[in-house]
Symmetry: C2
Subunit: 323 residues, 2 copies
Protein backbone atom coordinates (compact mmCIF):
# COMPACT_ATOMS: atom_id res chain seq x y z
CA UNK A 1 0.00 0.00 0.00
CA UNK A 2 1.51 3.33 -1.01
CA UNK A 3 1.03 6.70 0.63
CA UNK A 4 -1.28 8.01 -2.07
CA UNK A 5 -3.84 5.29 -1.37
CA UNK A 6 -6.49 6.61 0.96
CA UNK A 7 -7.30 4.68 4.12
CA UNK A 8 -10.48 5.24 6.09
CA UNK A 9 -10.11 3.17 9.21
CA UNK A 10 -7.63 1.24 11.31
CA UNK A 11 -9.49 -1.67 12.94
CA UNK A 12 -8.04 -3.81 15.74
CA UNK A 13 -9.34 -7.28 16.58
CA UNK A 14 -7.62 -7.68 19.95
CA UNK A 15 -8.22 -10.94 21.71
CA UNK A 16 -6.67 -12.95 24.51
CA UNK A 17 -3.92 -14.59 22.48
CA UNK A 18 -3.52 -12.45 19.36
CA UNK A 19 -3.81 -8.94 17.93
CA UNK A 20 -4.90 -8.36 14.35
CA UNK A 21 -4.83 -4.97 12.64
CA UNK A 22 -6.78 -4.14 9.48
CA UNK A 23 -6.33 -1.08 7.30
CA UNK A 24 -9.73 -0.50 5.67
CA UNK A 25 -11.28 1.52 2.91
CA UNK A 26 -14.97 1.45 1.96
CA UNK A 27 -15.65 -1.58 4.19
CA UNK A 28 -12.86 -3.54 2.51
CA UNK A 29 -9.57 -4.71 3.98
CA UNK A 30 -6.70 -3.14 2.06
CA UNK A 31 -3.93 -4.39 4.34
CA UNK A 32 -3.68 -6.52 7.46
CA UNK A 33 -1.11 -7.60 10.03
CA UNK A 34 -1.06 -9.88 13.03
CA UNK A 35 1.01 -10.33 16.17
CA UNK A 36 0.94 -12.64 19.15
CA UNK A 37 0.40 -9.72 21.52
CA UNK A 38 -3.00 -10.75 22.79
CA UNK A 39 -3.99 -9.15 26.11
CA UNK A 40 -2.51 -12.08 28.01
CA UNK A 41 0.73 -11.96 26.00
CA UNK A 42 1.74 -8.31 25.97
CA UNK A 43 5.38 -7.20 25.63
CA UNK A 44 5.11 -5.32 28.95
CA UNK A 45 2.65 -5.16 31.85
CA UNK A 46 -0.25 -2.70 31.96
CA UNK A 47 -0.82 0.31 29.73
CA UNK A 48 2.78 0.42 28.36
CA UNK A 49 2.31 -3.13 27.11
CA UNK A 50 -0.82 -2.18 25.15
CA UNK A 51 0.86 0.96 23.78
CA UNK A 52 3.95 -0.96 22.72
CA UNK A 53 1.97 -3.79 21.10
CA UNK A 54 -0.09 -1.24 19.16
CA UNK A 55 2.95 0.81 18.10
CA UNK A 56 4.90 -2.25 16.98
CA UNK A 57 2.10 -3.55 14.80
CA UNK A 58 0.55 -0.36 13.44
CA UNK A 59 2.87 2.54 14.32
CA UNK A 60 3.94 3.15 10.71
CA UNK A 61 0.32 3.25 9.57
CA UNK A 62 -0.46 5.87 12.19
CA UNK A 63 2.55 7.94 11.15
CA UNK A 64 1.44 7.71 7.52
CA UNK A 65 -2.20 8.64 8.24
CA UNK A 66 -2.08 10.54 11.54
CA UNK A 67 -5.80 11.40 11.50
CA UNK A 68 -7.00 7.88 10.72
CA UNK A 69 -9.70 6.79 13.17
CA UNK A 70 -8.85 3.66 15.17
CA UNK A 71 -11.44 1.23 16.56
CA UNK A 72 -10.89 -1.96 18.55
CA UNK A 73 -13.00 -4.90 19.68
CA UNK A 74 -12.53 -8.02 21.78
CA UNK A 75 -10.84 -8.67 25.12
CA UNK A 76 -8.99 -5.32 24.87
CA UNK A 77 -12.20 -3.87 26.38
CA UNK A 78 -12.40 -6.35 29.25
CA UNK A 79 -11.55 -5.72 32.89
CA UNK A 80 -8.10 -7.17 32.09
CA UNK A 81 -7.85 -5.10 28.88
CA UNK A 82 -6.53 -1.65 28.03
CA UNK A 83 -9.65 0.07 29.30
CA UNK A 84 -12.87 -1.61 30.38
CA UNK A 85 -15.85 -1.07 28.10
CA UNK A 86 -18.83 -2.20 30.21
CA UNK A 87 -21.15 -4.80 28.69
CA UNK A 88 -24.27 -3.74 26.76
CA UNK A 89 -27.33 -5.82 27.64
CA UNK A 90 -29.36 -7.99 25.28
CA UNK A 91 -31.13 -7.35 22.99
CA UNK A 92 -28.12 -5.67 21.37
CA UNK A 93 -27.15 -4.74 17.83
CA UNK A 94 -24.30 -2.74 16.37
CA UNK A 95 -26.11 0.56 17.05
CA UNK A 96 -26.48 -0.33 20.73
CA UNK A 97 -22.77 -1.19 20.90
CA UNK A 98 -21.89 2.07 19.15
CA UNK A 99 -23.77 4.07 21.78
CA UNK A 100 -21.38 2.85 24.49
CA UNK A 101 -17.83 3.14 23.16
CA UNK A 102 -14.88 3.73 25.48
CA UNK A 103 -11.94 5.86 24.39
CA UNK A 104 -8.31 5.44 25.35
CA UNK A 105 -5.21 7.41 24.21
CA UNK A 106 -3.17 5.19 21.91
CA UNK A 107 0.18 6.70 22.91
CA UNK A 108 0.78 7.70 19.28
CA UNK A 109 -1.70 10.52 18.66
CA UNK A 110 -5.11 9.11 17.81
CA UNK A 111 -7.53 7.83 20.39
CA UNK A 112 -8.65 4.23 20.16
CA UNK A 113 -12.42 3.71 20.29
CA UNK A 114 -13.11 0.41 22.03
CA UNK A 115 -16.36 -1.52 21.48
CA UNK A 116 -18.21 -3.00 24.48
CA UNK A 117 -19.12 -6.67 24.88
CA UNK A 118 -22.63 -8.04 25.38
CA UNK A 119 -24.33 -9.33 28.53
CA UNK A 120 -27.30 -11.67 28.80
CA UNK A 121 -28.73 -11.42 32.31
CA UNK A 122 -32.39 -12.30 32.84
CA UNK A 123 -33.95 -13.49 36.11
CA UNK A 124 -34.27 -17.25 36.44
CA UNK A 125 -31.71 -17.96 33.72
CA UNK A 126 -27.94 -18.35 33.88
CA UNK A 127 -26.21 -15.12 32.87
CA UNK A 128 -23.70 -15.09 30.03
CA UNK A 129 -21.17 -12.73 28.48
CA UNK A 130 -19.36 -12.29 25.17
CA UNK A 131 -16.61 -9.98 24.04
CA UNK A 132 -15.45 -10.02 20.45
CA UNK A 133 -18.09 -12.36 19.07
CA UNK A 134 -20.63 -9.49 18.87
CA UNK A 135 -18.26 -7.79 16.41
CA UNK A 136 -17.91 -10.94 14.32
CA UNK A 137 -21.70 -11.26 14.29
CA UNK A 138 -22.07 -7.64 13.18
CA UNK A 139 -19.74 -8.46 10.29
CA UNK A 140 -21.70 -11.54 9.27
CA UNK A 141 -24.99 -9.61 9.42
CA UNK A 142 -23.75 -6.94 6.98
CA UNK A 143 -25.15 -6.40 3.53
CA UNK A 144 -28.67 -7.50 4.32
CA UNK A 145 -27.78 -11.15 4.60
CA UNK A 146 -30.97 -13.26 4.40
CA UNK A 147 -30.44 -14.58 7.95
CA UNK A 148 -30.25 -11.18 9.61
CA UNK A 149 -34.01 -11.40 10.25
CA UNK A 150 -33.62 -14.62 12.17
CA UNK A 151 -30.87 -17.18 12.67
CA UNK A 152 -28.69 -19.05 15.12
CA UNK A 153 -25.06 -17.94 14.92
CA UNK A 154 -22.57 -20.56 16.10
CA UNK A 155 -19.03 -19.42 16.88
CA UNK A 156 -16.95 -22.48 17.82
CA UNK A 157 -13.81 -21.98 19.85
CA UNK A 158 -12.27 -22.01 23.30
CA UNK A 159 -15.59 -20.69 24.58
CA UNK A 160 -18.10 -21.46 21.83
CA UNK A 161 -21.11 -19.15 21.51
CA UNK A 162 -24.61 -20.08 20.36
CA UNK A 163 -26.40 -16.85 19.59
CA UNK A 164 -30.09 -16.29 18.86
CA UNK A 165 -30.32 -13.42 16.34
CA UNK A 166 -33.59 -11.70 15.41
CA UNK A 167 -34.09 -8.52 13.39
CA UNK A 168 -30.35 -7.97 13.45
CA UNK A 169 -30.22 -8.09 17.26
CA UNK A 170 -28.56 -10.52 19.65
CA UNK A 171 -31.52 -11.68 21.76
CA UNK A 172 -29.87 -14.36 23.85
CA UNK A 173 -26.82 -16.58 23.81
CA UNK A 174 -25.06 -19.43 25.57
CA UNK A 175 -21.37 -20.14 26.02
CA UNK A 176 -20.03 -23.71 25.87
CA UNK A 177 -16.54 -24.31 27.28
CA UNK A 178 -15.80 -26.94 24.62
CA UNK A 179 -12.36 -25.82 23.47
CA UNK A 180 -11.11 -25.07 26.96
CA UNK A 181 -12.43 -28.38 28.31
CA UNK A 182 -10.58 -30.23 25.55
CA UNK A 183 -7.32 -28.42 26.28
CA UNK A 184 -7.54 -28.63 30.07
CA UNK A 185 -8.50 -32.31 30.09
CA UNK A 186 -5.68 -33.23 27.68
CA UNK A 187 -3.08 -31.22 29.57
CA UNK A 188 -4.07 -31.54 33.20
CA UNK A 189 -6.30 -34.59 33.76
CA UNK A 190 -5.74 -38.34 33.78
CA UNK A 191 -7.16 -38.41 30.24
CA UNK A 192 -3.92 -36.94 28.94
CA UNK A 193 -1.84 -39.88 30.21
CA UNK A 194 -2.50 -42.18 27.27
CA UNK A 195 -2.39 -39.46 24.60
CA UNK A 196 0.66 -39.16 22.35
CA UNK A 197 2.66 -35.95 22.72
CA UNK A 198 1.41 -34.47 19.43
CA UNK A 199 -2.25 -33.95 20.25
CA UNK A 200 -3.13 -30.79 18.39
CA UNK A 201 -6.92 -30.58 18.26
CA UNK A 202 -6.87 -29.84 14.56
CA UNK A 203 -4.53 -32.42 13.06
CA UNK A 204 -6.10 -34.93 10.67
CA UNK A 205 -8.56 -36.82 12.84
CA UNK A 206 -9.30 -40.51 13.09
CA UNK A 207 -12.87 -40.48 11.69
CA UNK A 208 -14.06 -43.59 13.52
CA UNK A 209 -12.93 -42.27 16.90
CA UNK A 210 -14.41 -38.83 16.24
CA UNK A 211 -17.73 -40.42 15.21
CA UNK A 212 -17.73 -42.68 18.26
CA UNK A 213 -17.53 -39.54 20.39
CA UNK A 214 -20.31 -37.89 18.38
CA UNK A 215 -22.44 -41.01 18.65
CA UNK A 216 -21.98 -41.13 22.43
CA UNK A 217 -23.03 -37.49 22.63
CA UNK A 218 -26.08 -38.09 20.44
CA UNK A 219 -27.32 -40.92 22.64
CA UNK A 220 -26.47 -39.27 25.93
CA UNK A 221 -28.76 -38.08 28.68
CA UNK A 222 -28.30 -35.26 31.14
CA UNK A 223 -25.08 -35.62 33.13
CA UNK A 224 -23.71 -38.56 31.17
CA UNK A 225 -20.76 -36.65 29.77
CA UNK A 226 -18.66 -36.91 32.95
CA UNK A 227 -18.85 -40.72 32.55
CA UNK A 228 -18.32 -40.67 28.78
CA UNK A 229 -15.22 -38.51 29.26
CA UNK A 230 -13.57 -41.29 31.27
CA UNK A 231 -13.83 -43.57 28.23
CA UNK A 232 -11.07 -41.45 26.66
CA UNK A 233 -8.93 -43.51 29.03
CA UNK A 234 -10.75 -46.86 29.08
CA UNK A 235 -11.10 -47.10 25.28
CA UNK A 236 -7.31 -46.92 25.22
CA UNK A 237 -6.71 -49.26 28.19
CA UNK A 238 -8.88 -51.95 26.61
CA UNK A 239 -7.35 -51.55 23.15
CA UNK A 240 -10.67 -50.57 21.62
CA UNK A 241 -9.06 -47.44 20.16
CA UNK A 242 -5.40 -46.82 19.32
CA UNK A 243 -3.83 -44.25 21.65
CA UNK A 244 -3.37 -41.73 18.84
CA UNK A 245 -7.15 -41.76 18.23
CA UNK A 246 -8.21 -41.08 21.84
CA UNK A 247 -8.08 -37.30 21.45
CA UNK A 248 -10.45 -37.62 18.49
CA UNK A 249 -12.95 -39.52 20.62
CA UNK A 250 -12.68 -36.74 23.22
CA UNK A 251 -13.07 -34.06 20.57
CA UNK A 252 -16.11 -35.80 19.07
CA UNK A 253 -17.67 -36.23 22.49
CA UNK A 254 -17.18 -32.59 23.51
CA UNK A 255 -18.20 -31.09 20.16
CA UNK A 256 -21.12 -33.52 19.92
CA UNK A 257 -22.30 -32.60 23.43
CA UNK A 258 -22.19 -28.91 22.54
CA UNK A 259 -24.14 -29.52 19.34
CA UNK A 260 -26.80 -31.70 20.99
CA UNK A 261 -27.43 -29.05 23.65
CA UNK A 262 -27.08 -26.04 21.32
CA UNK A 263 -29.39 -27.53 18.69
CA UNK A 264 -32.07 -28.31 21.29
CA UNK A 265 -31.83 -24.71 22.47
CA UNK A 266 -32.00 -23.36 18.90
CA UNK A 267 -35.06 -25.47 18.12
CA UNK A 268 -36.85 -24.13 21.20
CA UNK A 269 -36.02 -20.57 20.20
CA UNK A 270 -36.95 -21.28 16.56
CA UNK A 271 -33.53 -19.84 15.82
CA UNK A 272 -32.88 -21.11 12.28
CA UNK A 273 -30.97 -21.33 9.99
CA UNK A 274 -27.59 -22.18 11.49
CA UNK A 275 -24.77 -19.85 10.46
CA UNK A 276 -21.20 -20.53 11.60
CA UNK A 277 -18.31 -18.11 12.08
CA UNK A 278 -14.79 -19.14 12.97
CA UNK A 279 -11.40 -20.52 12.13
CA UNK A 280 -11.76 -22.64 8.94
CA UNK A 281 -10.29 -25.94 10.22
CA UNK A 282 -12.40 -25.81 13.38
CA UNK A 283 -15.53 -24.88 11.40
CA UNK A 284 -14.87 -27.85 9.09
CA UNK A 285 -14.78 -30.16 12.09
CA UNK A 286 -18.04 -28.71 13.45
CA UNK A 287 -19.62 -28.94 9.99
CA UNK A 288 -18.64 -32.62 9.82
CA UNK A 289 -20.24 -33.17 13.23
CA UNK A 290 -23.42 -31.39 12.11
CA UNK A 291 -23.59 -33.63 9.01
CA UNK A 292 -23.26 -36.66 11.29
CA UNK A 293 -26.22 -35.35 13.28
CA UNK A 294 -28.20 -34.68 10.09
CA UNK A 295 -28.31 -30.95 10.70
CA UNK A 296 -28.10 -28.46 7.76
CA UNK A 297 -25.78 -25.47 7.93
CA UNK A 298 -26.70 -22.36 5.92
CA UNK A 299 -23.31 -20.65 5.75
CA UNK A 300 -19.79 -20.65 7.17
CA UNK A 301 -17.73 -17.49 7.56
CA UNK A 302 -14.08 -17.04 8.37
CA UNK A 303 -13.07 -14.06 10.52
CA UNK A 304 -15.66 -11.31 10.04
CA UNK A 305 -14.18 -9.02 12.69
CA UNK A 306 -12.83 -6.44 10.23
CA UNK A 307 -16.21 -5.88 8.62
CA UNK A 308 -17.87 -5.85 12.05
CA UNK A 309 -15.43 -3.21 13.27
CA UNK A 310 -16.11 -1.16 10.12
CA UNK A 311 -19.84 -1.31 10.90
CA UNK A 312 -19.10 -0.36 14.51
CA UNK A 313 -17.04 2.64 13.34
CA UNK A 314 -19.84 3.79 11.01
CA UNK A 315 -22.47 3.44 13.72
CA UNK A 316 -20.25 5.20 16.27
CA UNK A 317 -19.70 8.10 13.85
CA UNK A 318 -15.93 7.92 14.01
CA UNK A 319 -15.24 7.58 10.27
CA UNK A 320 -13.84 10.76 8.76
CA UNK A 321 -16.50 12.47 6.61
CA UNK A 322 -13.79 13.58 4.16
CA UNK A 323 -13.09 9.96 3.26
Amino acid sequence: MTSDTSAHLLALDWGTSSLRAFLMQDARIVDSRQSGHGIQHLPAAGVPGFEQAFAELAGDWVRQWPTLPVVAGGMVGSAQGWREAPYVRCPADIRALAQHPVRVPSGLGPEIVIAPGVLFDEPGMLPDVMRGEEIQIAGALSENRPWAARCCMVLPGTHSKWVQVQEGKILRFATYMTGELFAVLCQHSILGRLLPEDRSALREPNPEAFELGLSEARHSRAGDVSHQLFATRTLGLTGRLPHDALADYLSGLLIGSELVSGLARAREQEAVPLVMIGEPALCARYAEALRFLGQPLAAVFGNTAALGLWNFAVAAGVLLPAN
Copy 2:
Protein backbone atom coordinates in the same frame (compact mmCIF):
# COMPACT_ATOMS: atom_id res chain seq x y z
CA MET B 1 -0.77 -53.89 70.71
CA THR B 2 1.63 -56.09 72.58
CA SER B 3 3.58 -59.08 71.31
CA ASP B 4 1.33 -61.60 73.03
CA THR B 5 -1.71 -60.45 71.04
CA SER B 6 -2.17 -62.64 68.04
CA ALA B 7 -2.50 -61.01 64.62
CA HIS B 8 -3.92 -62.82 61.62
CA LEU B 9 -3.42 -60.49 58.69
CA LEU B 10 -1.62 -57.40 57.55
CA ALA B 11 -3.85 -55.62 55.01
CA LEU B 12 -2.65 -52.76 52.80
CA ASP B 13 -5.04 -50.29 51.17
CA TRP B 14 -2.57 -48.74 48.72
CA GLY B 15 -3.93 -46.00 46.53
CA THR B 16 -2.59 -43.20 44.38
CA SER B 17 -2.04 -40.68 47.14
CA SER B 18 -1.91 -42.68 50.36
CA LEU B 19 -0.99 -46.00 51.91
CA ARG B 20 -2.96 -47.43 54.83
CA ALA B 21 -1.94 -50.51 56.77
CA PHE B 22 -4.29 -52.53 58.98
CA LEU B 23 -3.32 -55.21 61.47
CA MET B 24 -6.31 -57.53 61.68
CA GLN B 25 -7.61 -60.34 63.82
CA ASP B 26 -10.90 -62.17 63.20
CA ALA B 27 -12.03 -59.63 60.59
CA ARG B 28 -11.46 -56.76 63.02
CA ILE B 29 -8.90 -53.98 62.85
CA VAL B 30 -6.64 -54.16 65.91
CA ASP B 31 -4.19 -51.49 64.78
CA SER B 32 -3.82 -49.17 61.79
CA ARG B 33 -1.34 -46.70 60.34
CA GLN B 34 -1.22 -44.39 57.38
CA SER B 35 1.41 -42.65 55.29
CA GLY B 36 1.41 -40.34 52.30
CA HIS B 37 3.33 -42.90 50.22
CA GLY B 38 0.66 -43.53 47.61
CA ILE B 39 1.98 -45.02 44.39
CA GLN B 40 2.45 -41.56 42.91
CA HIS B 41 4.25 -40.31 46.03
CA LEU B 42 6.81 -42.99 46.84
CA PRO B 43 10.07 -42.23 48.71
CA ALA B 44 12.07 -43.63 45.76
CA ALA B 45 11.37 -44.66 42.17
CA GLY B 46 10.33 -48.17 41.17
CA VAL B 47 10.49 -51.29 43.30
CA PRO B 48 12.81 -49.81 45.99
CA GLY B 49 10.21 -47.08 46.57
CA PHE B 50 7.48 -49.64 47.22
CA GLU B 51 9.77 -51.70 49.47
CA GLN B 52 10.84 -48.65 51.44
CA ALA B 53 7.27 -47.34 51.85
CA PHE B 54 6.16 -50.76 53.09
CA ALA B 55 9.10 -51.17 55.46
CA GLU B 56 8.71 -47.70 56.94
CA LEU B 57 5.02 -48.17 57.68
CA ALA B 58 4.84 -51.84 58.66
CA GLY B 59 8.41 -53.15 59.08
CA ASP B 60 8.12 -53.55 62.87
CA TRP B 61 4.89 -55.50 62.50
CA VAL B 62 6.60 -57.88 60.06
CA ARG B 63 9.55 -58.31 62.45
CA GLN B 64 7.13 -59.04 65.28
CA TRP B 65 5.02 -61.53 63.28
CA PRO B 66 7.33 -62.78 60.51
CA THR B 67 4.83 -65.33 59.18
CA LEU B 68 1.89 -62.92 59.02
CA PRO B 69 0.21 -63.02 55.59
CA VAL B 70 0.14 -59.67 53.78
CA VAL B 71 -2.52 -58.67 51.24
CA ALA B 72 -2.87 -55.43 49.30
CA GLY B 73 -5.51 -53.80 47.14
CA GLY B 74 -5.83 -50.62 45.07
CA MET B 75 -3.54 -48.87 42.63
CA VAL B 76 -0.58 -50.89 43.94
CA GLY B 77 -1.76 -53.54 41.45
CA SER B 78 -2.01 -51.17 38.47
CA ALA B 79 0.40 -50.92 35.54
CA GLN B 80 2.05 -48.07 37.49
CA GLY B 81 2.01 -50.09 40.73
CA TRP B 82 4.39 -52.53 42.38
CA ARG B 83 3.30 -55.39 40.17
CA GLU B 84 0.38 -55.38 37.75
CA ALA B 85 -2.58 -57.55 38.73
CA PRO B 86 -4.62 -57.78 35.50
CA TYR B 87 -8.30 -56.85 35.72
CA VAL B 88 -10.96 -59.49 36.36
CA ARG B 89 -14.03 -59.08 34.13
CA CYS B 90 -17.61 -58.46 35.28
CA PRO B 91 -19.56 -60.15 36.74
CA ALA B 92 -17.04 -60.30 39.57
CA ASP B 93 -17.20 -61.01 43.28
CA ILE B 94 -14.57 -61.51 45.96
CA ARG B 95 -14.11 -65.16 44.97
CA ALA B 96 -13.40 -64.19 41.37
CA LEU B 97 -10.86 -61.62 42.58
CA ALA B 98 -9.26 -64.20 44.86
CA GLN B 99 -8.72 -66.57 41.94
CA HIS B 100 -6.39 -64.04 40.27
CA PRO B 101 -4.00 -62.71 42.89
CA VAL B 102 -0.50 -61.54 42.00
CA ARG B 103 2.41 -62.07 44.40
CA VAL B 104 5.41 -59.83 44.90
CA PRO B 105 8.35 -60.17 47.35
CA SER B 106 7.94 -57.52 50.03
CA GLY B 107 11.69 -57.08 50.60
CA LEU B 108 11.20 -58.06 54.25
CA GLY B 109 10.40 -61.76 54.13
CA PRO B 110 6.73 -62.31 53.44
CA GLU B 111 5.25 -62.07 49.97
CA ILE B 112 2.51 -59.54 49.36
CA VAL B 113 -0.62 -60.89 47.71
CA ILE B 114 -2.09 -58.17 45.51
CA ALA B 115 -5.78 -58.14 44.52
CA PRO B 116 -6.78 -57.43 40.90
CA GLY B 117 -9.12 -54.66 39.78
CA VAL B 118 -12.34 -55.12 37.82
CA LEU B 119 -13.06 -54.48 34.13
CA PHE B 120 -16.42 -53.89 32.46
CA ASP B 121 -16.04 -54.45 28.73
CA GLU B 122 -19.12 -55.41 26.72
CA PRO B 123 -19.63 -54.79 22.99
CA GLY B 124 -21.62 -51.68 22.18
CA MET B 125 -21.02 -50.09 25.59
CA LEU B 126 -18.22 -47.90 26.87
CA PRO B 127 -15.67 -49.95 28.80
CA ASP B 128 -14.80 -49.05 32.40
CA VAL B 129 -12.29 -50.01 35.05
CA MET B 130 -11.95 -49.88 38.84
CA ARG B 131 -9.11 -50.67 41.19
CA GLY B 132 -9.63 -50.45 44.93
CA GLU B 133 -13.38 -49.86 44.88
CA GLU B 134 -14.02 -53.61 44.38
CA ILE B 135 -12.31 -54.19 47.74
CA GLN B 136 -14.39 -51.51 49.46
CA ILE B 137 -17.53 -53.09 47.98
CA ALA B 138 -16.47 -56.52 49.23
CA GLY B 139 -16.19 -54.99 52.69
CA ALA B 140 -19.63 -53.39 52.52
CA LEU B 141 -21.20 -56.65 51.31
CA SER B 142 -19.87 -58.61 54.32
CA GLU B 143 -22.02 -60.16 57.00
CA ASN B 144 -25.01 -60.84 54.76
CA ARG B 145 -26.00 -57.23 54.45
CA PRO B 146 -29.59 -56.98 53.16
CA TRP B 147 -28.45 -55.17 50.00
CA ALA B 148 -25.97 -57.86 48.90
CA ALA B 149 -28.76 -59.44 46.84
CA ARG B 150 -29.29 -56.25 44.88
CA CYS B 151 -28.20 -52.64 45.23
CA CYS B 152 -26.47 -49.69 43.66
CA MET B 153 -23.18 -48.89 45.38
CA VAL B 154 -22.07 -45.28 45.00
CA LEU B 155 -18.43 -44.43 45.79
CA PRO B 156 -17.96 -40.67 45.43
CA GLY B 157 -14.47 -39.35 44.83
CA THR B 158 -11.95 -38.19 42.27
CA HIS B 159 -13.38 -40.82 39.95
CA SER B 160 -16.79 -41.68 41.41
CA LYS B 161 -18.11 -45.18 40.77
CA TRP B 162 -21.75 -46.24 40.35
CA VAL B 163 -21.87 -49.98 40.70
CA GLN B 164 -24.74 -52.36 39.99
CA VAL B 165 -24.51 -55.23 42.50
CA GLN B 166 -26.57 -58.39 42.25
CA GLU B 167 -26.19 -61.63 44.24
CA GLY B 168 -22.98 -60.26 45.70
CA LYS B 169 -21.45 -59.68 42.26
CA ILE B 170 -20.42 -56.52 40.48
CA LEU B 171 -22.47 -56.72 37.27
CA ARG B 172 -21.69 -53.38 35.71
CA PHE B 173 -20.41 -49.96 36.70
CA ALA B 174 -19.75 -46.45 35.47
CA THR B 175 -17.05 -43.98 36.44
CA TYR B 176 -17.83 -40.26 36.71
CA MET B 177 -14.86 -37.88 36.72
CA THR B 178 -16.61 -35.53 39.16
CA GLY B 179 -13.83 -34.91 41.68
CA GLU B 180 -11.12 -34.58 39.06
CA LEU B 181 -13.26 -32.23 36.95
CA PHE B 182 -13.81 -30.02 40.01
CA ALA B 183 -10.09 -29.89 40.79
CA VAL B 184 -8.89 -29.42 37.22
CA LEU B 185 -11.45 -26.72 36.44
CA CYS B 186 -10.66 -24.80 39.64
CA GLN B 187 -6.91 -25.03 39.15
CA HIS B 188 -6.41 -24.87 35.39
CA SER B 189 -9.44 -23.26 33.69
CA ILE B 190 -10.82 -19.74 33.47
CA LEU B 191 -13.36 -20.75 36.15
CA GLY B 192 -10.61 -20.55 38.77
CA ARG B 193 -9.95 -16.86 38.09
CA LEU B 194 -12.75 -15.53 40.28
CA LEU B 195 -12.35 -18.11 43.04
CA PRO B 196 -10.72 -17.11 46.33
CA GLU B 197 -7.45 -18.86 47.13
CA ASP B 198 -9.00 -21.08 49.82
CA ARG B 199 -11.23 -23.26 47.68
CA SER B 200 -11.11 -26.62 49.38
CA ALA B 201 -13.97 -28.69 48.06
CA LEU B 202 -14.98 -29.71 51.55
CA ARG B 203 -15.02 -26.50 53.57
CA GLU B 204 -18.40 -25.33 54.85
CA PRO B 205 -20.42 -24.72 51.69
CA ASN B 206 -22.72 -21.85 50.77
CA PRO B 207 -26.02 -23.79 50.67
CA GLU B 208 -27.78 -21.49 48.18
CA ALA B 209 -24.93 -21.70 45.68
CA PHE B 210 -24.64 -25.47 46.09
CA GLU B 211 -28.41 -25.83 45.55
CA LEU B 212 -28.34 -23.54 42.52
CA GLY B 213 -25.80 -25.92 40.98
CA LEU B 214 -27.94 -28.94 41.93
CA SER B 215 -31.02 -27.27 40.50
CA GLU B 216 -29.26 -26.53 37.22
CA ALA B 217 -28.20 -30.17 37.02
CA ARG B 218 -31.72 -31.38 37.78
CA HIS B 219 -33.22 -29.30 34.96
CA SER B 220 -30.47 -29.96 32.45
CA ARG B 221 -30.62 -31.81 29.17
CA ALA B 222 -27.90 -33.75 27.41
CA GLY B 223 -24.79 -31.67 26.82
CA ASP B 224 -25.95 -28.66 28.83
CA VAL B 225 -23.25 -28.99 31.46
CA SER B 226 -20.51 -27.40 29.35
CA HIS B 227 -22.69 -24.26 29.23
CA GLN B 228 -23.71 -24.45 32.87
CA LEU B 229 -20.05 -24.74 33.90
CA PHE B 230 -19.34 -21.32 32.40
CA ALA B 231 -21.86 -19.80 34.83
CA THR B 232 -19.28 -20.44 37.57
CA ARG B 233 -17.70 -17.36 36.00
CA THR B 234 -20.75 -15.34 34.89
CA LEU B 235 -22.62 -15.70 38.20
CA GLY B 236 -19.59 -14.00 39.74
CA LEU B 237 -19.12 -11.37 37.01
CA THR B 238 -22.75 -10.30 37.33
CA GLY B 239 -22.72 -10.26 41.13
CA ARG B 240 -25.44 -12.90 41.36
CA LEU B 241 -23.20 -14.97 43.65
CA PRO B 242 -20.36 -13.80 45.91
CA HIS B 243 -16.98 -14.99 44.68
CA ASP B 244 -16.48 -17.24 47.69
CA ALA B 245 -19.66 -19.15 46.77
CA LEU B 246 -18.75 -19.87 43.14
CA ALA B 247 -16.93 -23.12 43.94
CA ASP B 248 -20.10 -24.33 45.70
CA TYR B 249 -22.14 -23.68 42.57
CA LEU B 250 -19.56 -25.67 40.60
CA SER B 251 -19.56 -28.46 43.18
CA GLY B 252 -23.37 -28.61 43.16
CA LEU B 253 -23.48 -28.63 39.36
CA LEU B 254 -20.90 -31.44 39.02
CA ILE B 255 -22.26 -33.59 41.85
CA GLY B 256 -25.82 -32.96 40.67
CA SER B 257 -24.93 -33.96 37.10
CA GLU B 258 -23.37 -37.18 38.35
CA LEU B 259 -26.44 -37.96 40.46
CA VAL B 260 -28.94 -37.21 37.68
CA SER B 261 -27.10 -39.52 35.28
CA GLY B 262 -26.24 -42.19 37.86
CA LEU B 263 -29.79 -42.33 39.22
CA ALA B 264 -31.25 -42.68 35.71
CA ARG B 265 -28.83 -45.55 35.12
CA ALA B 266 -29.69 -47.19 38.46
CA ARG B 267 -33.44 -46.94 37.72
CA GLU B 268 -32.96 -48.65 34.38
CA GLN B 269 -30.96 -51.42 36.01
CA GLU B 270 -33.45 -51.65 38.89
CA ALA B 271 -30.37 -51.30 41.05
CA VAL B 272 -31.84 -50.26 44.40
CA PRO B 273 -31.37 -49.40 47.21
CA LEU B 274 -28.57 -46.84 47.08
CA VAL B 275 -25.61 -47.58 49.37
CA MET B 276 -22.73 -45.11 49.64
CA ILE B 277 -19.09 -45.74 50.60
CA GLY B 278 -16.52 -43.02 51.05
CA GLU B 279 -14.88 -40.25 52.98
CA PRO B 280 -17.45 -38.94 55.54
CA ALA B 281 -17.42 -35.23 54.58
CA LEU B 282 -17.77 -36.04 50.89
CA CYS B 283 -20.52 -38.59 51.58
CA ALA B 284 -22.35 -35.96 53.63
CA ARG B 285 -22.25 -33.59 50.67
CA TYR B 286 -23.56 -36.29 48.32
CA ALA B 287 -26.26 -37.24 50.83
CA GLU B 288 -27.36 -33.60 50.98
CA ALA B 289 -27.55 -33.55 47.19
CA LEU B 290 -29.60 -36.77 47.16
CA ARG B 291 -32.03 -35.25 49.68
CA PHE B 292 -32.39 -32.22 47.41
CA LEU B 293 -33.27 -34.59 44.56
CA GLY B 294 -35.72 -36.48 46.79
CA GLN B 295 -33.75 -39.70 46.59
CA PRO B 296 -33.50 -42.06 49.61
CA LEU B 297 -30.16 -43.49 50.70
CA ALA B 298 -30.13 -46.85 52.51
CA ALA B 299 -26.71 -46.69 54.17
CA VAL B 300 -23.43 -44.80 54.25
CA PHE B 301 -20.09 -46.47 55.01
CA GLY B 302 -16.69 -45.01 55.73
CA ASN B 303 -13.63 -46.86 54.51
CA THR B 304 -14.48 -50.55 54.22
CA ALA B 305 -11.18 -51.54 52.64
CA ALA B 306 -9.83 -53.40 55.67
CA LEU B 307 -12.83 -55.69 55.86
CA GLY B 308 -12.76 -56.15 52.10
CA LEU B 309 -9.10 -57.12 52.23
CA TRP B 310 -9.86 -59.57 55.04
CA ASN B 311 -12.53 -61.17 52.84
CA PHE B 312 -10.08 -61.27 49.95
CA ALA B 313 -7.47 -62.98 52.14
CA VAL B 314 -10.00 -65.57 53.29
CA ALA B 315 -11.16 -66.25 49.72
CA ALA B 316 -7.57 -66.44 48.47
CA GLY B 317 -6.70 -68.94 51.20
CA VAL B 318 -3.77 -66.95 52.54
CA LEU B 319 -4.87 -66.72 56.18
CA LEU B 320 -2.86 -68.94 58.47
CA PRO B 321 -4.99 -71.94 59.56
CA ALA B 322 -3.25 -71.91 62.95
CA ASN B 323 -4.80 -68.53 63.74
